[in-house]
Symmetry: C2
Subunit: 364 residues, 2 copies
């Protein structure tokens, strides 16, 4: 073992996380904390100024909801920490680090763990969803800064990837979408097979499942169809799959996603049960935007799930559906119209840092 470690240390550029034994845990595995960004006044492209206070209040509700399950660390742009603390109160940790925007799921690093107890980050390149919003220098650098702040090793992955573009089962399986990763604005120099290989190398997965796509541009104009808008691993061999009515423009694509999931196997060779998730809620009108069903973009917290809702009488029935899907978890809603308006949901706005793997604790 020692010889192997020294060998890896001599050639760090060749030692991928996977070869070293790291893997990305499933989101439902224990977290040390949740990391969020604080909405900055520089947020683009929506007319943010007139909804900035609503964004601050909503992110506070969100941070408080998550803080009932696990610690929350909020990253505020330099100079905005004190105001963030005024909103968030004493139960949430705030740190100032340069950020352009606050979608830590996409800009932030992905945490990986090692059986020996180490945690590290797989830090993929971030190019602002294919260069959609400028500037993004600080968001592209947040992985490195956060790794330094948290004192964890960083592996720089040679590929653009937003965290919302993947969902993993923690047992070697990853699901992504062609609409996002094969979009020429992401990694035009890489083939699909090369990207598959990099995902395997940096996230410790052994099987990558490619779905055709996520939501269409009407509902998701920013991400080119992140998987976290349409599908989520909710357990080993179990995927919650967004479904829409027949007259919806995404109908055929959602059916195709489901068909692929149902006819493939996971990394362990087992079947994948798809749980259709069609929501009869909304739309809710908000300024010039129309809300459909943000619910699938939820966040697993320790012992719970924090779900973006519309803040209407429709919510409770949907939360009850999710309670059936997530037995044993406390499922709570946070009305998030402004987050959706800004381009995402609760999953997009959060990033889990896994707890220290158990083996270290048993050998410590």
């Amino acid at each position: 073992m020692r010889a192997q470690s020294e060998d890896a240390a001599r050639r760090p550029e060749e030692a991928t996380p996977s070869s070293l034994g790291f893997r990305m845990p499933a989101e439902w595995e224990p977290h040390e904390r949740c990391i969020m960004g604080w909405p900055t006044r520089q947020r683009i492209p929506v007319p943010w100024s007139d909804q900035h206070m609503l964004a601050l209040a909503t992110h506070t509700l969100l941070a408080h909801a998550i803080a009932k399950f696990e610690s929350v660390l909020v990253i505020a742009a330099p100079g905005e920490g004190a105001a963030a603390r005024s909103y968030l109160g004493g139960d949430v940790e705030v740190v100032e680090l340069p950020i352009d925007d606050y979608w830590l799921r996409d800009s932030g690093p992905l945490f990986i763990t090692h059986p020996d107890g180490r945690r590290a980050v797989a830090d993929f390149k971030f190019n602002s969803w294919g260069g959609k919003y400028e500037p993004y220098d600080d968001d592209a650098a947040i992985g490195e800064r956060l790794a330094e702040y948290l004192g964890v090793q960083r592996f720089a992955a040679p590929m653009v990837l937003e965290g919302g573009a993947i969902t993993v089962d923690g047992e070697g399986t990853l699901i992504t979408t062609e609409s996002n990763l094969l979009n020429p604005t992401r990694n035009p120099e890489l083939t699909r097979d090369e990207m598959t290989r990099i995902l395997e190398d940096y996230l410790g997965v052994r099987k990558v499942i490619w779905l055709p796509g996520g939501r269409g541009p009407e509902e998701d104009p920013d991400t080119d169809g992140h998987v976290d808008g349409v599908a989520a691993f909710v357990g080993p061999g179990r995927v919650l799959a967004h479904m829409v009515a027949e007259d919806h423009p995404d109908h055929e694509r959602m059916l195709e996603n489901k068909r692929i999931l149902e006819t493939t196997t996971d990394a362990l060779g087992g079947p994948i049960a798809t749980i259709p998730f069609e929501v009869d809620a909304g739309p809710l009108q908000f300024n010039d935007a129309s809300f459909v069903s943000p619910y699938i973009n939820f966040y697993f917290a320790n012992g719970g799930a924090v779900v973006p809702t519309l803040g209407t009488a429709d919510d409770e029935a949907v939360l009850d559906k999710l309670r059936d899907v997530l037995p044993g978890r406390e499922v709570v809603g946070v009305p998030c119209p402004v987050i959706y308006y800004a381009g995402g949901g609760i999953h997009c706005a959060t990033q889990q840092m896994p707890a220290t793997p158990r083996r270290e604790q048993s050998t410590a």
Copy 2:
């Protein structure tokens, strides 16, 4: 005792709460719960529609902050209860009762207690701050409906009074303002002495202190200068007194308020210590409104104080000042620009229901 009770029962119209032994406790005495209203879509007169979601999110933050100290009951207009529950979550009780607006401090009944353990309400007339906003039928009736819902006796007081127009020490002293209660839109048929007598009869106080006025119409266009915008009993013989800089239009009036407090005595004959509260924070611009210092309009909760803040870096220093004034209490802030924008603060938006007086508990 029995004969006296029967006598009172025979002539209920003559039995005032004071004659029966009721009194209004100070806000810092133990509460059973806090009662709040849920912002309805019918709110007037501000251009509320474009800030309605911010109002909902902010009232949720407020209810959650108070719920850390005591139970919270939120009154939602009929049909809006499910949406309110979606925001508020499971830790806050929601009941649907007809309301026009949500300022329960002013529209709601004032709770009074009896040494034998009974609680009742002194239900003053409400005319929407002198008829400023129509309709107000349901707000005028909320005292009766709430008494019925809570199962407590109701005494209908023959006088218009908003709860924000008074502050009491629980030991027989009440402070109000001439600018509000002597305004001809409130009780033109009553003299100052007659009003004093009614306050004594229905709230169990023995001394009414009249201050000249509250904030001027620039900062407080709705209440005609409620005392809860400029002064608050913070303990027996201790009044926190809002002060402003020399160039402020309210400067002379605030000095006069302070002078009166310092040269009078409370109901027990003791001096009243005034604690000057001049805040160097804000203004914060919000739409067409300019925030000055909402802080004094805070709410005493069990073991704490919940303070309206600006949501800026200025807040923490002001909260520290209040911590000095309220030793032993946990002082927390809730950023409330939209509540201020709508015309009030946290005190205006809340109403305490006192805990059952101790004597009943000892004889139960």
